[in-house]
């Protein structure tokens, strides 16, 4: 059983991306005031990454679990589910 990168793991799951309509938006200024940034370690899809000391987030592989909204210390996220018919679609679940 090979160690799978997060991209490979997400590659097995079906996503219907709502082009140009992100359902989660990070408020960069509020986010910048946070040191611990638990989102980097808590998101099961690894969508929050640090790039030159700033959060880079891509909603396309979101598993819609809600962890980021809960763990965000500064409440810097505008969080919602994707619009109807979009987002992750579990074939197994």
């Amino acid at each position: 059983m090979k160690y799978l990168s997060i991209e490979e793991r997400l590659g097995t799951t079906k996503f219907i991306v709502d082009e140009g309509m992100p359902h989660i938006i990070v408020d960069k200024t509020i986010c910048a005031t946070c040191q611990e940034k638990p989102c980097l370690r808590a998101c099961p899809a690894g969508l929050y990454q640090l790039q030159d000391n700033e959060i880079r987030f891509d909603y396309a592989g979101c598993l819609e679990c809600g962890t980021c909204r809960v763990v965000c210390l500064k409440k810097a996220l505008k969080w919602d589910y994707p619009r109807g018919t979009f987002g992750v679609e579990f074939r197994y679940g």
Partner: protein
């Protein structure tokens, strides 16, 4: 978007054809045997056909009238009706026959033509330019030929102008603008519109709309007519035979090797 516009004198009748297909995003291929795996795969209305339905609905929203959603398939296609009707058509017609399971484009076009003759008068037929599973890009065009009406294929803009249909076709070398009198058939490209997502009310209204089921015989065809002209011998996962050479070493060693490879391929 008011829906549909009332008060237009003559009521335009649009037939929007769609196909109920396996969602290709659910399909997998067994790496070793290259066999196609379809378990857990769901069905959906073929992507470009949603644009076809949307196009029909927008046309009747502009000039008044109603859209009939038409599909031909096995009994499984029955599951498509609610989704199709929730996208704006006023009624649906389903030609149901298990033989449609191995129909090719020639058979599908003949069955749809038969169904349309049974439906009777119409002004415009709208089809997707190709289905997301086969993408043979011909059923709509064949249909127009069989019904002996003008065909405008690969359309990405359409409007009605005092009883004349004006369409723009997005071709390789540019946009061709044409006009035809009705009845006529168009096949539409995905960028003609953005298919609206069925709203809650549309989904609830869908289950109250009339659905007519036809057999192949109703369409004036026998089982012999359902014999495909193109026989499928095999379906295998597409594999790319590549060298799969891994360039090793540190940055300068890798760059050295890949530069030579590039120079061999391309004079630079």
């Amino acid at each position: 978007m008011p829906f549909p516009a009332k008060g237009v004198t003559e009521r335009m009748k649009v037939i929007a054809c769609y196909k109920w297909v396996l969602d290709e995003a659910d399909l997998k291929v067994d790496a070793k045997s290259r066999a196609l795996l379809t378990d857990r795969a769901k069905y959906k209305i073929s992507e470009y056909d949603r644009n076809a339905i949307e196009c029909g609905v927008q046309l009747v929203e502009q000039v008044g009238g109603e859209v009939i959603a038409l599909t031909a398939g096995t009994s499984n296609a029955k599951n498509s009706i609610k989704d199709a009707l929730s996208r704006g058509p006023a009624q649906a017609v389903l030609v149901k026959d298990e033989l449609m399971g191995q129909a090719d484009s020639a058979v599908t076009a003949k069955v749809l033509a038969g169904a349309i003759r049974k439906i009777g008068a119409y002004d415009i037929i709208v089809c997707g330019e190709g289905s997301s599973d086969e993408y043979s890009q011909q059923v709509g065009i064949r249909l127009g030929q069989l019904l002996e009406i003008p065909v405008i294929s690969f359309v990405n803009k359409v409007e009605m102008k005092n009883n004349v249909l004006r369409a723009e076709r997005k071709l390789e070398n540019g946009i061709e603008v044409v006009e035809v009198n009705l009845p006529a058939i168009i096949t539409v490209l995905p960028d003609i519109n953005e298919a609206r997502i069925p709203s809650l009310k549309q989904i609830l209204a869908a289950s109250k709309k009339p659905v007519q089921e036809l057999t192949v015989a109703d369409c004036g065809l026998s089982n012999a007519d359902l014999e495909p002209k193109v026989h499928r011998l095999s379906v295998l996962g597409a594999v790319m035979e590549r060298k799969q050479v891994r360039i090793e070493g540190d940055v300068s060693e890798m760059v050295q090797q890949v530069a030579n490879i590039i120079k061999k391929e391309v004079s630079c």
